[in-house]
Assembly symmetry: C2
Homo-oligomer: 469 residues x 2
């Protein structure tokens, strides 16, 4: 497969940026036409509810792919294909050179897909590498093969129609019992790796796949800071949705909700720590009270490991809201779980500072807003975070939280009470992860995400007429 990828490289490299970007756009357009098929594939492999599988797995993933192509185009088109260089030499004729600049790809790229968002997390690296001239081998998560198989099939058809070697995009499928990612990742021919998944494997890649440029989105511990805030109902409604959406199986789901142990002011009222925690639990109950809606919002649990984690997490503190099973109206065999909310103390950092992926969150009693902000910053900096949220009426508090989040390199959402949620990030408007804390070493998508995927090699020759003078 690697040999086939390398054989496909020269013609793709020589086709140049415009041809490559054009074909990437065509692949995206064809994927867009298959959005419903991809949505069903994502739903049945990841357990996402259909609406989310359609949005995040279809158009939003395509948006992220398109964004990567746009950045790739910007990076490549910033270098001219040719230039005439002239240097005056006083009374003598000027020095004149014609220069040509070729974009050369790094080599064969590997995309290691994830189990929960195979297309949304896979497309940015896949399209960034392909657009910049690198053949791509896609190694899907063994539990979420079909969405990327459809993707690769679509890409191969477009490439073949345009006269290119379809082996510019290949699917390397493995099984949980016989994984191939480590072997593939260490091959000297693999020069770029895009990975979304566990911190453990991400760190392994960075340490062991040193021949490659590794773009890794790993795990994080996403904090929420709650201060004095009038619209507590809106806060609770909004956070309840964030905690419930896809049963918290998002790298953007909040985990640690910091609340002063002396409670908060909410307009005219004072809410105790227990009232804040209970209010969040009640909002989750209300959101999930309707079985149809609950099934759509929660989706199914993707991995048995998440069920085990959920089972052990309830002993970590005082259970504010117990996780329960839920029935799916159309898929009776689906495994659904509602969010678990556990109350702990700020000093129990050993319990809440590691990521507990899935519908598990903590309401954490702090000495006050200062400690909440300090813990948001420190846990994000030390353990990584992809999102952070703050609720406060006082603009000065928002500014302080903004400074702390900037120090910790984590994107901050302020006072979300309506139809925007902290776990959502929109292509062309939100950067997903920053690369500035341990949760990821790259961002979707900024110039750094594409700039290193190709190199510029120039040649220059004196202009004959000038040389003859």
């Amino acid at each position: 497969m690697i040999a086939a990828a390398r054989a496909a490289l020269p013609a793709w490299r020589d086709a140049g940026p415009a041809a490559r970007v054009g074909l990437c756009l065509e692949i995206l357009a064809r994927l867009n036409a298959r959005s419903f098929e991809i949505a069903h594939a994502v739903m049945h492999t990841t357990g996402q509810g259909f609406m989310m599988a359609f949005q995040a797995g279809g158009p939003h993933a395509q948006d992220r792919g398109l964004e990567a192509v746009a950045y790739a185009w910007e990076a490549m088109s910033g270098v001219p294909a040719t230039a005439r260089w002239e240097k005056p030499q006083g009374k003598n004729p000027p020095l004149v050179l014609d220069k040509t600049f070729r974009m050369v790809p790094r080599g064969v790229a590997l995309v290691i897909g994830c189990a929960t968002f195979p297309t949304w997390n896979g497309y940015p690296g896949l399209f960034a590498s392909l657009a910049t001239g690198n053949p791509v081998i896609v190694k899907p998560h063994p539990m979420a093969v079909l969405p990327l198989a459809i993707t690769v099939e679509t890409a191969r058809a477009v490439l073949k129609e345009a006269g290119f070697d379809p082996n510019l995009m290949m699917l390397a499928v493995d099984t949980p019992d016989a994984p191939i990612a480590k072997e593939l990742a260490q091959r000297p021919e693999i020069r770029i790796i895009d990975f979304t998944g566990s911190s453990e494997f991400g760190a392994w890649l960075e340490a062991n796949a040193r021949q490659a440029q590794v773009y890794a989105e790993k795990s994080g511990v996403n904090p929420v800071v709650i201060g004095d805030f009038a619209d507590f109902a809106g806060l609770a409604r909004n956070l309840a949705f964030s905690l419930s959406l896809y049963s918290g199986q998002m790298c953007t789901t909040p985990q640690n909700i910091f609340v002063p142990r002396n409670g908060i002011r909410s307009g005219e009222r004072t809410l105790s720590f227990d009232e804040v925690a209970a209010g969040l639990a009640a909002a989750v109950d209300k959101l999930l009270g309707d079985a149809d809606r609950a099934a759509e919002v929660l989706g199914a649990i993707q991995s048995p490991a998440t069920l085990e984690r959920l089972d052990t997490a309830r002993s970590l503190g005082m259970v504010v809201r117990a996780s329960g099973a839920a029935a799916h109206p159309r898929f009776p065999d689906a495994t659904l779980r509602t969010p678990l909310i556990v109350a702990v103390d700020a000093r129990d950092e050993d319990k809440y500072a590691a990521e507990l992926f899935g519908p598990i969150s903590f309401v954490i009693a702090t000495d006050g807003l200062d400690q909440s902000i300090e813990l948001m910053q420190r846990t994000a900096r030390e353990h990584g975070a992809i999102t952070a949220a703050v609720y406060a009426d006082d603009p000065a508090v928002l500014r302080r939280a903004g400074d702390a989040a900037a120090e910790a390199g984590v994107a901050l959402s302020c006072n979300l009470t309506g139809g925007v949620f902290v776990n959502q990030s929109a292509a062309f408007s939100d950067f997903h992860a920053t690369g500035a804390n341990p949760a990821a070493n790259a961002s979707l998508t900024d110039p750094a995400f594409v700039a290193g995927r190709f190199r510029v090699v120039q040649s220059r020759v004196p202009v004959p007429s000038a040389a003859a003078e």
Copy 2:
């Protein structure tokens, strides 16, 4: 020093791209005003002739710094400081968010200077890091401290005048007996390292300073391919200058000159391999025949290690041109050496495939043009190369050489016979190194050189009026 750098960071980060870039430009303008002082400092520390020390150490180095600042500005200004995001919601009011985007630096940057081109090779990383918000610790080569000391002094004065902490730029001087680069480079606070120097230390940095983004220019083996070429006199004159300039102590100096063992056609004549080799030797003799000119072109030998290398290299093959001492008219104690040219066979790859830094080159007998091009490509790919050159009247040969150089990731100069030399690379027009072969993992300067030096951290908040609807 690291603590002082970190303390200086927040205000510099918060000043924003425009202020930082403005001050970088001011530093460059003041350095420009000190060009003659810097030229003397470069001459006396590196052994460069005065004209070269002035050009390469002064304005050309400043050009490379300015180029890095320009790329940094382009990368940072591509991200808006603020944006209003609006998403239609059918009959309901749109979702409206105000978003702010902050550039945050990676951390403390380290510039490890080199002995031969302290400013030219040091300024790109120094200015790229500073412009993107990172405090910079400059660790000069212990034999070339003064040029970077003047640079740091100038930068500190500008920063202080503008109300910033001058510790944004500091000089960390060591000695050959008590080097500090390894200890500094491994400090967890050091997040960016720019290095120019040996492959050995560059590889050590990449393996051991894993907490940092390492931009390393290491050594290479620069090839020249000579095919059938009418203007042999121009070829020989041009190459003789390239081999002699600063006694070959440039990372861009040609080392391996591949010539068919059956000779070449040059217009009406056939030149045997020996005649080509002798022609090159004669052109060097002619160039250096005038003692004043020879002193200016050759400069002095920077390091005793180069003298030793030169001494042993003459036994590697048949000496075509012996290296000799030369006297400097103004500096009688200067150690000058003229180029050594040794003839070897293509099969003696163990002799010519490693870099022999200094005035040492090989004329290598090949089976013909095909082997010459193959060896150019393979040695560059395996051992690294920063420059390559080809001489051929046939455009088809130039194209083949161009393809081979692109495959090997090395910049190619074609048919240089006049006033442009393969070892020269002009800011704003030539990329110096490509990052696509072992000679360097970065290029001066492309978007990849600056994009990873900062991250973008955003925050977002619903727009009050829209939220109230």
